[in-house]
């Protein structure tokens, strides 16, 4: 297949996919050199929604950077705000009450499930099946309603605060979440029957673009992409943060490395997230949801701080450089899909266009997060 595509005797042509294209989920562009239906070279072109968050951080106080964090990855914003909360709490040595950590875990995991549901629907839509996304949205809507009842927003949450969360969860939320756990556990087998078992989908995903663990390592791929290639790495387990060490959950790992493996990792992760939420609700401690002694003006000691969380798309980490003043000297946002997409060019050379786009969907891209 690939030898045919790389044969220079054949004429090639250039195709611009994006920045406005139904498959790129936003404003991503690919400069593709094609040989008929085969891709010779597909170069991603980024920056169409670049907003320079890192510069924005430098001219505002630590507190004022909150809204930016939820505008990176608007699909699973909660994990990103979690990272920022953790980073600044680490830098300032703020202790977070246990109940607040539990609430954080519950909301982050709900958000992760929501993100995976959206990805699942969108993946199948990219493969031409239009119905599953609406089923996924049916379930996703429940999560958004639950999160809205706590955080007040549906997408760009600004719920976490240094030393805790904005407000406490109530009984309605707890009962609603429990009901949702039951509902989704019944729905996921239906999803598998409708989509995973489908012969056409298997043909579209199985064996498509297998990524080796070594390639993932060289490119710094993380998250479900890495776990689909057989590497058991999840920040929640390997570098436990927040209240995660207190929960019993598994990290789904598949060794095939193809699109199907990435698909299965995410599908299994939803069930694991449900387990985490269930345990967190069972063990939810009483107490305050916010530390009492959080100074109004934060002045972390000079130095470097690093914090990593497992977002829905991989390891999201932040590096803050403080010079001891009340504004960050430098904040670096390391977004997972940026690294995940960087292997696209190498991985898709010699592939069919349709397969390459299926592969791109299996990477689960969110463009604003990549472009920052």
């Amino acid at each position: 297949m690939s030898s045919f595509a790389q044969n220079q005797l054949y004429e090639t042509f250039e195709l611009n996919i994006g920045p406005q294209h139904p498959a790129t989920h936003g404003v991503l562009r690919f400069k593709v050199v094609m040989d008929g239906e085969y891709i010779v070279k597909a170069e991603p072109v980024l920056g169409y929604i670049h907003r320079m968050h890192e510069k924005m951080a430098e001219d505002r106080t630590w507190n004022k950077f909150w809204p930016n964090m939820s505008r990176l990855d608007y699909v699973s914003a909660m994990a990103y705000t979690h990272c920022y909360a953790g980073l600044v709490e680490r830098a300032n040595g703020i202790e977070v009450p246990e109940r607040a950590e539990y609430i954080r875990v519950i909301t982050v995991e709900l958000n992760r499930i929501q993100s995976h549901l959206l990805w699942w629907g969108v993946l199948v839509m990219d493969l031409g099946g239009f119905t599953p996304i609406l089923y996924a949205f049916d379930d996703r809507e429940v999560i958004l309603d639950l999160l809205e009842s706590v955080t007040g927003s549906r997408l760009t949450y600004c719920y976490f605060r240094f030393g805790g969360v904005y407000n406490d969860i109530d009984d309605d939320f707890i009962t609603g979440t429990r009901a949702f756990i039951k509902q989704l556990r019944e729905r996921i087998p239906m999803y598998h029957k409708l989509v995973t078992g489908n012969a056409i989908l298997i043909e579209r995903l199985e064996g498509i673009c297998p990524l080796s663990a070594e390639m993932c390592r060289k490119y710094g791929a993380t998250g479900p992409v890495l776990r689909g290639s057989g590497v058991n790495f999840d920040v929640r387990k390997n570098e436990p943060y927040s209240a995660y060490p207190e929960f019993d959950f598994d990290i789904p790992v598949y060794h095939e490395g193809d699109s199907m493996a990435r698909y299965m990792v995410r599908m299994d992760e939803m069930l694991q997230s449900l387990r985490i939420i269930e345990q967190a609700l069972d063990k939810l401690p009483e107490g305050p949801v916010k530390a009492d002694k959080v100074p109004k003006v934060l002045k972390p000691p000079a130095g470097d701080y690093y914090y990593a969380v497992e977002a829905a798309r991989g390891t999201f980490s932040m590096r803050a450089v403080s010079d001891g003043s009340n504004t960050p000297y430098r904040i670096k946002l390391r977004s997972p899909t940026y690294s995940n997409l960087s292997l696209f060019e190498e991985a898709t050379s010699g592939m069919l266009l349709a397969d390459a786009l299926a592969f791109m969907s299996s990477l689960d891209l969110v463009i604003p997060e990549m472009d920052r």
Binding site: P67, C158, I200
Partner: protein
């Protein structure tokens, strides 16, 4: 060959299962709402734009114009104008301008309000054709019929008047002294100007 046949049968089976599921969903009732005709109730914690709360005791807001909300706002969308009214303790809010076009609904203003005089509204279906429609004066929104005059405390007014009178007297004395000094030195004019300004 048996594998070939098995493949076909399995594929057809998986497709039939899919058809069966969509058929089952087809027979169920739609779950969507016809939005303009019917709408969901917003949760009490829903974050719309901010709104001044009416204090039932005083019949008006309890904002003391401390400017905390404006200073914590990441997008600088709050502008507070206040004035001093004789006989009223503290400053009186004359307008509370919210530029909702830049607001990111983070809620830090509400969190940092000491008097609890602002909160989120439940309004979600804002729509307009003009950018200026979203520059709200929250005070006017609170009192669309007209902003009531602040209640003057007569005792405080008396005290203030006395204080003012005393200050005026003091200033006059100072001025006189300064004039005297100026006459004596007849050089520095700027000192006079500042004294005048103070009075």
């Amino acid at each position: 060959m048996p594998g070939y046949i098995k493949d076909i049968i399995n594929s057809l089976k998986s497709l039939a299962i899919g058809l069966e599921i969509t058929n089952r969903e087809f027979l169920k009732k739609p779950i969507t709402l016809q939005y303009p005709h019917e709408a969901l109730k917003m949760t009490p914690r829903y974050r719309g734009h901010i709104e001044l709360y009416k204090n039932p005791e005083t019949g008006t807001h309890s904002c003391i114009s401390c400017g905390m909300c404006a200073s914590v706002c990441p997008s600088n969308c709050i502008t507070i104008n206040s004035r001093k009214v004789p006989g009223v303790k503290g400053k009186v809010l004359s307008s509370y301008i919210l530029n909702f076009t830049t607001c990111s609904l983070c809620g830090q203003c509400v969190e940092n309000c000491k008097t609890g005089s602002i909160g989120f509204s439940n309004e979600y279906n804002l729509a307009g054709t003009n950018k200026d429609d979203y520059i709200f004066d929250l005070l006017k929104r609170l009192h669309p019929e007209g902003i009531p005059e602040p209640v003057v405390d007569p005792e405080l007014l008396k005290q203030e008047e006395e204080k003012l009178a005393a200050a005026a007297q003091k200033a006059a004395e100072k001025k006189a002294a300064a004039q005297k000094a100026a006459e004596q030195a007849s050089t520095d004019a700027s000192g006079e100007a500042t004294a005048e300004e103070k009075s």
